[in-house]
Symmetry: none
Subunit: 126 residues, 4 copies
DNA sequence: GTGGTCTAGACCACA
DNA sequence: GTGGTCTAGACCACA
């Protein structure tokens, strides 16, 4: 389920986090589902256990998973990811608008770009 | 004109690049204007000349400035920055839309967020 | 495998880049092979790690290697080097022909020079 | 007659040398023609007299001009430039062939590229 | 004066 | 262990 792209510039632990968030978003991992153990996932992906450990710690800090000593790590609440992502999107929108204004792209022009991008996504889904 | 933010996580050389791009975008630096010399800017910002050197070399690679050995560095074409930024915006839009679709934000909802952000920008400018 | 020629006027980092490109071209370094670490290669060649670092970063920018933080640098695609070299050759040919025309060397005369050079290369290979 | 391109990466003195060589090759400057004085050319091009001085010294070293104290600098022999350029071309050909062999471009393929480039030059001249 | 390259060595994030 | 950034300072070519 989780794939590491070594040609991706981001650190591996970030990729692991994002992939797990995606699996939660898509409903593949649901509340109270158990995650693979640090060791088994590290083995499966052929990466250092420390890296998985770090990813899990970060996911716990974000409130997306919880850990029960001696039992393992579990998905805490799939809604939390949605909430956090929505906040990120709000920030992305603000940055995008600032950047657009800087180069003279106005509200209407940007909306056209947005509509175009949605059109493409819909095409792909067919 | 150029300010370094030590709380910013990005490397100093990247901040320098971005600040100079901004000065070009805003028309404060125009074609064939001479940039401060590597050494003088390093002194002014109290950072190492190598760091400025790296920023300038990157700006040259991007085509935003050109360098004449023994003379200095000069703004090459302020239009080049606009063009590159517009390409970045196109990419940002695509990413934003993908991310929105993932959490169930549709076209209309996203456009409302965009309009809101533009409204805020206009308020600030007043 | 990599040799620095201190009599060569070109900077060391450029020589390192070219040598690595050659090793890729000759198939000695293949896709996903790990390059020596910045530090170890620096030690081996008795040059500063920063200089190797610069060479590797340039190779990454050119798309010939990719880097995974904390893991190392790897050959990305040996075909990319061939493609880029072929573009260079096209440019070299154009320049050579312009230069030849300037001194009155025509098509047939230049082709004779080319054939002579190929003859010599074949001799060397025997 | 002489134009400096500040966006050219080569040092200014080299550009001056090349431009003068070109004027000789094209027969615009002929044997014993007087060159402009160091000072007047520096003024005309708005560059440092040291730079012109260096270019003239280099041209003298190459045997393309000669200097008479108190009189000025003169074209020595327009044939000398042709001879030197032909030697350069021989070297360029050797390098080009080596580079071609490295990427698997053979004699026939390279000749086709050469013919193509000559075709383009002829087109331009029409 | 200007930029370009390089050394020596430090500290950081990441695996 | 790995690469990434930065400092301090030297020496070079060029104008």
């Amino acid at each position: 389920m989780i794939v590491i792209d070594y040609k991706d510039k981001r650190p591996i632990y970030e990729q692991v986090i994002e992939r797990i968030e995606q699996l939660i978003l898509r409903g593949i991992l649901k509340s109270d589902d158990m995650l693979p153990s640090v060791r088994s996932l590290a083995m499966e992906l052929s990466i250092n256990p420390n890296t998985i450990q770090r990813a899990y710690q970060e996911l716990e800090r974000l409130g997306f998973i919880y850990t029960v000593k001696g039992k393992g790590s579990f998905i805490s609440d799939n809604q939390a990811v949605v909430t956090q992502r929505k906040e990120e999107i709000q920030q992305d929108v603000d940055q995008l608008v600032s950047k657009s204004v800087e180069v003279g792209i106005g509200e209407n022009e940007l909306i056209i770009l947005i509509k175009g991008a949605f059109g493409r996504v819909k095409e792909e889904m067919k």
